[in-house]
C-alpha cells in the first residue's frame, strides 16, 4: 500500500518516455520546418543554431500560379463529398447484406469480398479508360461518384461485421413498435452504429486526404491539385529543394487529420451496442 505512489510515478515516467519516443517524429517535423537544409540533414540534433522564420509564409505561397490556399480548398471539395457518400452508401449496402436474404446473396457477397483482394494497380488502367470515356478526367468525379456507390469493400465489410454484432431482437421489437425496414435502420441501428460510422468516416477522410497516386493520375491541372500533390510539387532530384517549406506545409497538412481524430475520439469509445437491450 505504501509503495503505491512510487509505483505510480514510475509507470507515469515510463509512459511519458514511451510517449515521447512515439511522438518524436512529429516534434522533429515541427522543429525542422524552421531549420535550414544544412541543419535538417547535417546533424541529428533536434535543435539548430540558426532558424528561419519565413518557411510557413513562403511555403503557403507555393510554386508558380497556385498556393496552398487553393490546394486546401480543392482538397476539402474533394474529401468532404467522398467521406459523406462513402458513409451513406456503405451503411445502406452493408445493411442489405447483414439483414436481408435475397437471390444470389452469397455470390454477390463473394464478389464484393473479391474486390477487396484485388490490387489497386490491376484496375488502374481499366478505370482510367472508363473515366476517360465518361469525360471525367481532371475533375473530382472519379473519386466522388465511386464513393456514392459503395465501392470500398473494406468499409462495407466493416459495417456488416458491426451490424452482425447488433442483436436481431432489436429489429423485431422495432417492427412491433411499427417501424418498417428502413426506419429500423435509421431509428434503431444507426444510433448504435455511431462508433463504426465514425471509423468509416475517419479512415476514408485520412486515406483520401493523404492519397497521392490516384490524385496524380486523374488530376492534371495545377489549379485542381490537392494538398498531397501540392506537397510534392517542387520535389525533383535535379533541383534545390527548400525542405523547410516542404516540412512546414506537411505540418499544416497533417493538422486537419490530427484535429479530426481527437474531436471524434470519444465516439470510438462511446456506445456499447448491446445496452439497448437492458431493462
Amino acid at each position: 500500500m505504501r509503495s503505491e505512489p512510487r509505483n505510480k510515478w514510475l509507470s507515469y515516467l515510463l509512459l511519458i518516455l514511451f510517449g515521447l519516443v512515439m511522438i518524436y517524429p512529429l516534434i522533429w517535423l515541427f522543429v525542422s520546418s524552421f531549420k535550414t537544409n544544412q541543419d535538417i540533414f547535417g546533424s541529428s540534433r533536434l535543435f539548430a543554431d540558426t532558424y528561419v522564420w519565413d518557411s510557413y509564409k513562403l511555403g503557403w505561397q507555393g510554386t508558380g500560379l497556385y498556393g496552398f490556399d487553393t490546394f486546401f480548398k480543392n482538397t476539402l471539395i474533394l474529401v468532404i463529398p467522398v467521406v459523406i457518400f462513402t458513409i451513406v452508401s456503405s451503411v445502406i449496402v452493408a445493411y442489405g447484406f447483414a439483414r436481408f436474404n435475397f437471390p444470389l446473396k452469397t455470390l454477390l457477397f463473394s464478389l464484393m469480398m473479391a474486390t477487396l483482394m484485388l490490387p489497386d494497380a490491376t484496375i488502374l488502367i481499366p478505370r482510367y479508360i472508363l473515366f476517360n470515356e465518361l469525360g471525367w478526367l481532371d475533375t473530382y468525379l472519379p473519386f466522388i461518384v465511386p464513393a456514392a456507390f459503395a465501392t470500398s469493400a473494406f468499409f462495407i465489410y466493416l459495417m456488416i461485421q458491426f451490424y452482425r454484432g447488433l442483436p436481431r431482437d432489436l429489429d423485431e421489437s422495432a417492427t412491433i413498435d411499427g417501424c418498417n425496414s428502413f426506419t429500423i435502420l435509421t431509428r434503431v441501428l444507426l444510433p448504435l452504429c455511431k462508433p463504426a460510422i465514425f471509423s468509416v468516416g475517419l479512415f476514408q477522410f485520412m486515406w483520401t486526404w493523404n492519397d497521392f497516386f490516384n490524385s496524380i493520375i486523374y488530376i492534371s491541372s495545377v489549379s485542381k491539385f490537392t494538398v498531397s500533390l501540392g506537397l510534392r510539387l517542387s520535389l525533383d532530384a535535379s533541383s534545390a529543394v527548400s525542405w523547410n517549406q516542404v516540412l512546414a506545409m506537411s505540418v499544416v497538412a497533417v493538422l486537419p487529420c490530427i484535429l479530426l481524430f481527437f474531436l471524434a475520439q470519444k465516439y470510438f469509445v462511446e456506445g456499447i451496442s448491446t445496452t439497448g437491450l437492458k431493462g
Binding site: 537544409n37 488502367i125 478526367l137 496524380i216 493520375i217 491541372s221 535535379s238 534545390a240 529543394v241 527548400s242
Partner: protein, 439 residues
C-alpha cells in the same frame, strides 16, 4: 409495402448522390478547343521550384509571340510523373507537348505515341549537335524527341572543403592519383573521405574503369562480355583497395542515402570532398551548404592510358509532341521557340541544364543565366565524350543487378576481387544466354 419503401429510398439516396457528384466538377481536360482561332496547347513537365517558375514565365512571354496560342501548364514534382505520362499516352489523353526522360524512351517508342519531328517545317534542327540527335532522339528511324539541355558526367567538388583538407583541385584525376590522395586524406583524419559513392556510383566507376581499359562496352550487343577475367579482377582490386584505404565513405553508410546523396550528413558537414555525379545534381548537392562554400566541377576520373575516355553526356530531358495533338504545327512552333529563341533562353537559363541548342546556349550565357560550374562540366563533357554509348543490354535491370551483387560483395569485403570477378562472369554469362534464348 415494406420492400417498396426500402428500394424507393435507396433509389432516392443514390440518385441524389449522383446528381450532387456530377455537379461537383465541370469541364474536362479538352486539348485544343478552337474558339475564334484561339488554340489551346497542354504542356506537361516535372521539376522543382526554379524550373516551374521560369517555365511559367516563359509561357507568359510566349503570349506576346503568338497571341492566338494559349499554353496550359501541367507541372508537378518527379514523383508519379512517369506513371502519369505512361497512363496518359496509353489512353490518348497526354498533353500536346511533354517533357520526357531518356530511360523511358526505349519503352515508349514501341508504339507510335509521338510526332515525327524531322518533317515539321516550324522546327529548326540545325542548332543541335547531329550526333546527339542520332544517339538520343532517334528511335526506329524517327526523330521523336528533342533534347532540352545537356547533362554531363563529372566530378562535383566541394572546393572549400578540398582546400581545407589539403586535396588538390587543379589536377586531372586518374585512378592512381585519386587512390593516393584519398588514402592520404583518410590517414590524416579517419573521419574524412575523398569520395562519396552509393552502389549506383560504384557500378558506374566499375564500368568506366573497364571501358577505359578495354575500349569496349562491358556487355556487348551480341550478348557477349566486353571484358576478360583479368580486366574484372583489375577493376575490382582497385575498388577493394580504395574501400580498404578509406578513399570512399563505407558503402553501408553511403547507401542509406541512395538516390538522395545531398542528404548525406558527411557531405553536408563537408567531411567528403567529391562526388562523381551527373551535372544536373549539382544544384541540390550545393543547396545544403552555406552561401560561402564554393562548388566546382572537374572531368571524371580517366585512366592515363585509356582507350576510351568513357565520359558520358546525355540530354537532361527530352521534349516530344503527341501524335494525337490537334494542333501539331502550333505545338512545333512553341517548341521551336522554347528551344531556340534568345528571349526564351534568357528566361529559362539553366533550369533544364545547359541548353542543347547552340543558339539558346549562347543567349543564356550572354544573359548570365548559366551556372559556371554546370557550364564547365558540360563543356568538358562534350569536349571529351566519345561515341561509345550504353547499349540497351548494358542497362538491362537483370544484368545490372548481377553487377550490383558482385560490387557490393567486394565493397563490403565479403568476397576477394578474384572471387567477385569469377562469380560476376559466370552469372553474367548465364543471364546473357538466358536473355538471348528469350529473344
Amino acid at each position: 409495402m415494406r420492400k417498396q419503401w426500402w428500394t424507393g429510398s435507396l433509389a432516392v439516396v443514390m440518385s441524389a448522390a449522383l446528381i450532387a457528384g456530377c455537379s461537383g466538377g465541370n469541364g474536362t481536360a479538352g486539348s485544343g478547343e478552337d474558339n475564334g482561332g484561339q488554340v489551346t496547347l497542354r504542356f506537361s513537365w516535372w521539376g522543382g521550384d526554379g524550373r516551374h517558375q521560369q517555365t511559367l514565365e516563359a509561357i507568359e512571354a510566349y503570349k506576346q509571340v503568338a497571341p492566338n496560342v494559349r499554353i496550359e501548364p501541367e507541372y508537378q514534382g518527379f514523383d508519379g510523373y512517369e506513371q502519369k505520362v505512361k497512363t496518359q499516352l496509353a489512353s490518348s489523353t497526354s498533353a500536346d507537348i511533354m517533357q520526357l526522360d531518356v530511360p523511358w524512351m526505349e519503352d515508349l517508342t514501341q508504339s507510335d505515341f509521338f510526332l515525327d519531328l524531322s518533317d515539321q517545317s516550324e522546327l529548326s534542327l540545325d542548332e543541335f549537335d547531329a550526333d546527339f540527335l542520332t544517339n538520343f532522339s532517334t528511335y526506329n528511324d524517327k526523330l521523336v524527341a528533342l533534347p532540352s539541355g545537356v547533362n554531363a558526367y563529372a566530378l562535383v567538388i566541394n572546393k572549400t572543403a578540398a582546400d581545407a583538407l589539403g586535396v588538390p583541385t587543379d589536377i586531372e584525376w586518374d585512378w592512381e592519383t585519386i587512390y593516393e590522395e584519398g588514402k592520404k586524406l583518410h590517414e590524416r583524419d579517419s573521419s574524412k573521405h575523398l569520395l562519396l559513392a552509393d552502389h549506383g556510383v560504384l557500378m558506374q566507376d566499375f564500368n568506366k574503369f573497364l571501358m577505359q581499359r578495354t575500349g569496349e562496352q562491358w556487355v556487348q550487343e551480341d550478348y557477349t562480355l566486353g571484358f576478360t577475367q583479368e580486366d574484372a579482377v583489375a577493376a575490382l582490386t582497385w575498388l577493394d583497395e580504395a574501400m580498404r584505404a578509406g578513399v570512399y565513405q563505407p558503402l553501408g553508410e553511403a547507401d542509406l542515402f541512395y538516390g538522395k546523396t545531398e542528404q548525406n550528413p558527411k557531405w553536408i558537414n563537408q567531411e567528403i570532398a567529391m562526388i562523381s555525379a551527373m551535372s544536373s545534381t549539382l544544384l541540390p548537392l550545393r543547396s545544403v551548404f552555406p552561401e560561402d562554400v564554393e562548388v566546382i566541377t572537374a572531368l571524371p576520373v580517366i585512366a592515363k592510358d585509356a582507350k576510351d575516355t568513357a565520359v558520358q553526356v546525355r540530354p537532361s530531358q527530352l521534349y516530344a509532341i503527341s501524335a494525337k495533338s490537334q494542333h501539331p504545327e502550333e505545338a512545333a512552333a512553341f517548341l521551336n521557340w522554347l528551344l531556340h529563341d534568345a528571349e526564351a533562353a534568357a528566361i529559362l537559363g539553366d533550369v533544364r541544364s545547359v541548353p542543347a541548342s547552340s543558339a539558346a546556349q549562347q543567349a543564356a550565357v550572354d544573359a548570365g543565366k548559366i551556372d559556371p560550374a554546370i557550364a564547365r562540366a558540360v563543356e568538358m563533357g562534350l569536349a571529351n565524350a566519345t561515341g561509345l554509348l550504353d547499349n540497351a543490354l548494358s542497362t538491362n535491370s537483370e544484368v545490372t543487378s548481377i553487377l550490383q551483387d558482385s560490387i557490393e560483395k567486394v565493397a563490403f569485403g565479403r568476397a576477394t576481387p578474384e572471387q567477385g570477378a569469377t562469380e560476376l562472369i559466370a552469372a553474367l554469362e548465364r543471364k546473357l544466354s538466358d536473355l538471348q534464348a528469350r529473344q
